[in-house]
């Protein structure tokens, strides 16, 4: 406590009591802005997909554009078959449910290693990280937003969308609807401000992913997959 008071008194260099700390945009203003973003997005969806694809591929990401649900599943199936993958972990987000990925995995004889979260948090943790889930060869996630100007994937965290899926396995497959692609981080920030207005908080963790895990720490040689995935695949499902 002592340190706190000391530091605060030392850094009080301006007396600005009762003036706002910063300008805040009103909810109404944000909503109008978001509507505008959605309109622009709808008009430019083709360009957004192209730009996202280009940026993501620059970072060694593999991008597949699917016109139908079936096609999206076929892309996923061929990634799994080509690499001979038997064990995966995945999200259980709405899009993945709609695509009936579980059925596809069954038919391919692939096992989902992320078991139902029964038991205490500690037991779940033990199971996930030291147990079978830690041996998964591939992670399948959805995507909450894509950023067209940087090729970034934005992933929220929730009980159905855990962090490990895009992090632990050596291959990450992300499935995204084309309507989720935003122009840039400017649009994302508007959405996050709306989150704040509506939910009072941001998600416990928001992750922006651009490309695979990479290092250049040994003589500037790029090596992929130093800690996270060394391959990133993005399946874009064209929205109707």
């Amino acid at each position: 406590m002592e340190d706190r008071e000391q530091i605060l008194s030392l850094i009080r260099i301006k007396d600005t009591k009762n003036t706002p700390l910063f300008k805040e945009r009103k909810k109404q203003e944000l909503l109008i802005q978001w509507q505008d973003i959605e309109h622009r997005r709808a008009r430019h969806v083709k360009e957004l997909v192209q730009s996202f694809k280009r940026e993501c591929e620059l970072l060694t990401g593999k991008v597949y554009v699917a016109r139908t649900n079936d096609e999206a599943c076929q892309f996923l199936a061929s990634i799994i078959k080509e690499a001979g993958i038997k064990q995966i972990i995945k999200w259980s987000s709405p899009l993945l449910k709609r695509l009936e990925i579980d059925r596809l995995l069954d038919s391919l004889g692939v096992q989902n290693m992320l078991l139902a979260a029964k038991g205490s948090a500690n037991e779940v943790r033990q199971r996930d990280y030291t147990g079978p889930a830690s041996k998964a060869e591939l992670g399948i996630s959805g995507v909450d937003y894509g950023l067209a100007d940087t090729g970034a994937l934005v992933l929220r965290t929730s009980p159905d969308q855990n962090r490990a899926v895009s992090l632990l396995p050596p291959v990450h497959v992300a499935i995204m609807e084309s309507k989720c692609i935003l122009f840039s981080s400017d649009d994302l920030i508007t959405q996050l401000l709306l989150d704040l207005e509506e939910k009072g908080n941001l998600d416990s963790c928001l992750t922006l992913i651009t490309g695979p895990s990479v290092t250049a720490d040994i003589e500037l040689n790029l090596v992929l997959g130093v800690h996270g995935p060394k391959e990133l695949h993005v399946i874009i499902l064209e929205s109707n």
């Binding site: 340190d3 530091i7 030392l10 922006l208 720490d217 130093v226």
Partner: protein, 476 residues
């Protein structure tokens, strides 16, 4: 870590003779400068962004107390704990106490300069806790028991041969001198540590007051692992790391990765808001935020030097500094190197120990040109130099003789008649010392110049040259 700033001259002499280091610095700077410049050229209005970032830092620091209280309130509201530390010792004690109270046996760490600054690892290790650096570069230098040599690339001074040697000596594996193979070996070794670890410790790139979030940028994924797998996450930040809101964050996200590596965004940007929520499978259950002063409030109070705190630790000033790119990071004798180290270190540690650092610059201004938050580093270097020669509290005030020489020099420079006479004498007096067009071995005290520099002899006076040129021009 041990402070060796007072050995600046010896350390830099050694660095200049280190062929591996010289080659590494050369390769590094060519690549990084190109990447950074091309990343900035793709921005719509890079100058405008830098201006904005500068203003944000200025305004935030002017009300730093309020923003930190705002941050604290929000972190607590989300279920995190906030601890304040006046100095390095207090910060170490806080983290050691958290670790001991929770029975922590193993810690995984993300790369963080501030943990180097407070010498965190030594304290934890002394309490019997195993600490693993997990950034590949940090992992390498931890094995070598060396400090980082660059803010961003801590092991850029090491060759792959040296690293293979190190792995064999410390880890008992014989690997090919192949970056791919060595990296994969490190991945497997460290993955095991991540799964076992009880606590993850990271720094903070930005702390967003309005949302109570901390933001972490990285390319490897080791920071994500450190914040996702262990039950406890401790994040430590200097007081200057707080920003106001998400709009501010947006500006810095556009600048930081571009300045650091020339990427548009880092591979991973994590915005972490409190501990994991009910029903979530991963993420830390316990989140602690340590807010560290350690000399920063003193810098804040000093208006002339305050800009030092705007730094977002991107490393661009190092990458473009002709001095850093010759002498490397270790010569600066402490955690922070390059131009930012030259202004930050003397203000954070015992000033007299670091008094040589602000003089280790040619004042070329490259650092200020690339700084994403437009810190006027040359101006601060000059301010520090002035204090160091004028104020016994800051450094080594100049001797009477030195003062006398410069007073005389100033007098001569202001007096046309005297200046002309003296320079005429000097032109004649220099003749015996000119060897192959260079002035060599002048008698003391002038040998201080000729010892370190290639000094070009005085030419004809400007007036003479002017007369000759205009005559020639008239003839034409």
């Amino acid at each position: 870590m041990e402070i060796r700033c007072n050995q600046f001259q010896e350390l830099s002499k050694k660095a200049l003779k280190d062929q591996n280091l010289q080659q590494a610095l050369k390769n590094f700077s060519t690549l990084i400068q190109e990447n950074r410049n091309s990343a900035f050229s793709l921005l719509d209005n890079p100058e405008g962004l830098r201006e904005q970032a500068h203003t944000i830092k200025k305004e935030t620091l002017e009300r730093l107390d309020e923003h930190l209280e705002h941050l604290e309130k929000n972190v607590i509201r989300l279920g995190g704990r906030v601890h304040w530390a006046r100095d390095a010792k207090k910060a170490r004690e806080l983290i050691e106490t958290i670790a001991c109270d929770k029975g922590v046996k193993t810690v995984v760490k993300g790369k963080s300069m501030v943990t180097e600054e407070i010498a965190l690892n030594q304290g934890l290790i002394a309490r019997g806790i195993e600490v693993s650096e997990t950034d590949l570069g940090e992992f390498i230098i931890q094995l070598a028991e060396e400090p980082p040599s660059h803010l961003v690339g801590p092991a850029i001074h090491k060759t792959k041969g040296q690293i293979a040697e190190l792995f064999s000596e410390k880890l008992g594996v014989r690997l090919m001198e192949d970056p791919q193979e060595m990296t994969m070996f490190a991945r497997n070794t460290l993955r095991h540590k991540f799964i076992q670890a009880d606590m993850g410790i990271t720094g903070v790139n930005f702390a967003v007051a309005k949302t109570g979030s901390i933001v972490l940028l990285e390319n490897e994924g080791n920071i994500r692992l450190s914040t996702t797998l262990p039950k406890i996450h401790v994040a430590i930040m200097g007081i200057e790391k707080v920003i106001r809101n998400l709009e501010d964050l947006n500006i810095f996200l556009k600048l930081l990765a571009r300045s650091t590596t020339g990427q548009k965004l880092s591979s991973y940007t994590s915005i972490i808001t409190g501990p994991k929520r009910a029903g979530e499978r991963d993420g830390a259950e316990e989140f602690h935020l340590i807010i560290l002063d350690n000399g920063r409030s003193k810098i804040l109070a000093d208006e002339e030097l305050r800009e030092t705190l705007y730094c977002i630790r991107c490393g661009a000033c190092l990458d473009f500094c002709p001095v850093y790119l010759k002498i490397g990071g270790h010569s600066y004798g402490w955690v922070y190197s390059g131009p930012i180290g030259s202004i930050l270190t003397p203000q954070l540690i015992n000033r007299k120990q670091a008094f040589q650092l602000p003089f280790a610059s040619s004042l070329c201004g490259a650092c200020a040109e690339v700084c994403p938050v437009k810190i006027n580093i040359p101006k601060i270097l000059l301010a520090l130099r002035r204090r160091m020669i004028e104020d016994p509290q800051w450094g080594k005030p100049s001797s009477m003789a030195e003062k006398a020489i410069f007073t005389l020099y100033a007098y001569i420079m202001r007096n046309k008649w005297l200046y002309e006479r003296i320079s005429r004498i000097a032109r004649i007096a220099q003749m015996p010392f000119i060897k192959k067009g260079i002035l060599k071995n002048l008698p003391p005290p002038f040998n201080r110049w000729t010892h370190h520099h290639e000094v070009v002899p005085l030419e004809k006076t400007f007036r003479q040259q002017w007369k000759e040129v205009s005559n020639k021009y008239e003839e034409l």
